[in-house]
Amino acid sequence: MGTSLSAGANIGLGDASRVGVAIGWAPEGLDDIDASAFLCGSAGKVLSDAHFIFYNAPRSPDGAVQFQPQAGSSELLRQQFEVDLTRVEAAVERLELALTIHNAQARGINFGALQRVTVRLLDLANGSELAQFAVPVGGMQETALILAALYRRNGQWKFRAVGQGFIGGLAPLATHYGVDVAADEPAPPAPAPTPAAPPPPAKPTVNLSKVTLEKRGQSVSLEKRSEAGFGEILFNLNWNQRPQKSGMLAGLFGGKQGIDLDLGCLWELEGGEYRGVVQALGEAWGEFHNPPFIQHAGDDRTGAVAEGENIRINGDRLPYIRRILVFAYIYAGAPNWAAADGVATVKLPGQPDIEVRLDNPVAGEAMCAIALIENDHGKLKVTKEERYFHGHREMDLAYHWGLRWVAGSKN
């Protein structure tokens, strides 16, 4: 066990060059707690909005900081930052690490409702714990907490336990670091347009909003924000690609073999009998600018896409689209959805992210219908499905898609 730090205490990092900051809390039931990091210059402000690392932006511009929102499920590790200190750009003086309770004031909760919040500093070279900070959350009214900071001091990196925060949540926290944040709540309907000069373009802001579809059948409908349409809709599936080793031999026999999970979708366009599938199997990659206006990102690792697998949907062509059923299929190996711990995120420009967690896994079934995306009279409707099936055919039947299925194999 590493050095136990009290709030305010600091330690030098010595030779450690790749560190993890593991964040955990208890009890488990209190959900929707999010870590974030602010990469600040000497003035204590973020270098740019892109230097605010959180669930919608899990990677720093220099690639040195990676946020893992699904790092674990124990009270000592739920979310983690991995920091390669040798790659942090020179202008970054401090990485301030925070924890916030989403929408806390509306829900009437604060950090005092938690029993424990623990921050651990790990040396990723050997997995050892350098320091541990039990955040004194008892009686805290804050809903956003600065947990700790990694900072440069006389050419060395140090780590400080902080444990101070803001009652008002993520917005005052972000403002403190100079991040421009969008309002968390949707804006009221705009008054009837007047023939006055067009308003100046809004300053780009970081979108803190997030919508989680928690229950099967729960849905959200989004209005388009511009005349053109919804822009590019990204459907991302992220999962735990390296499940816990199950024994000492796991490292020798298949321990490095991850879960092979394929993302795909069934699609149906307006006007009848125009249906199909987009998936890696059979190399049915789809097309973005032509029907079906859906494309599998495949092995396109441009860095522009988030981790995991991605499907791009041309939201400007929504009028041609009737419905899309996004699914994940465990191609090989035992279909262990619990170990995969998948989370799907629908990202739309200028809209809150929509999150669908696969949190009711059914072991033994290889197919999971994750979410249904529908054109609901011009609105984009996303519904959580999370229904498990034996395979493509059974799912197709359940949703009355009407495709003919033959066995295939992936190259």
Partner: protein, 192 residues
């Protein structure tokens, strides 16, 4: 060049600034931006005799007793939050006016109500205490409290003392449990 001292530093600085006639002891920190009780740091000075004790309670110079009886040591005011630029509190000493039976002057920094507010120096941003030669404005010695004294709530910064015909400054940098009251008692002040 200023000498930056780390914890346990104990350095005689007569060579850094020979012939000192007047100094300022400056204490600075950043106002709290997070929610919660303000950080209120206090600089104090004790005029001490040969035995290391105050001659009377009036030799304890702090926020409620800002000027020594002879006028040689002046506390320039209590900053309650750290708001503002530069040094937030300054204790000025005219060395040539210090009475002959004062052998040394000790300087301390404490956090007001540290215990009830659950605070220490490490929770305060950019807290430091320094001594500046008034003749040229140069910093002679400095401790960064937020870094090197992060888990302390009270600290003896240093001592100014007579050596032959001149004054020297000795950095001490020793944490002290309990805050200003026990510190003052330690120097022989009768605390009510």
């Amino acid at each position: 060049m200023a000498v930056s001292l780390s914890k346990g530093g104990n350095v005689s600085l007569s060579k850094e600034a020979p012939g000192l006639t007047a100094i300022d002891v400056g204490l600075g920190w950043d106002a709290r931006v997070t929610d919660g009780a303000a950080f209120d740091l206090d600089a104090s000075a004790f005029l001490l005799n040969e035995g290391g004790k105050v001659r009377s309670d009036a030799d304890f110079i702090f926020y409620n007793n800002k000027t020594s009886a002879d006028g040689s040591v002046v506390h320039q005011g209590d900053n309650l939050s750290g708001a503002g630029e530069g040094d937030d509190e300054v204790v000025a000493i005219a060395l040539d006016q210090v009475p002959a039976d004062v052998q040394k002057v000790a300087f301390t920094v404490t956090i007001h109500e540290a215990e009830s507010r659950g605070q220490n120096f490490g929770q305060v941003s950019n807290a430091y205490i320094r001594v500046v030669n008034k003749a040229d404005g140069k910093e002679i010695a400095r401790y960064d409290l937020s870094e090197d004294y992060s888990t302390e709530t009270a600290m003896i910064f240093g001592e100014l003392y007579r050596h032959n015909s001149e004054w020297k400054f000795k950095a001490i940098g020793q944490g002290f449990a309990g805050g200003l009251g026990p510190l003052a008692r330690n120097y022989g002040v009768n605390i009510g």
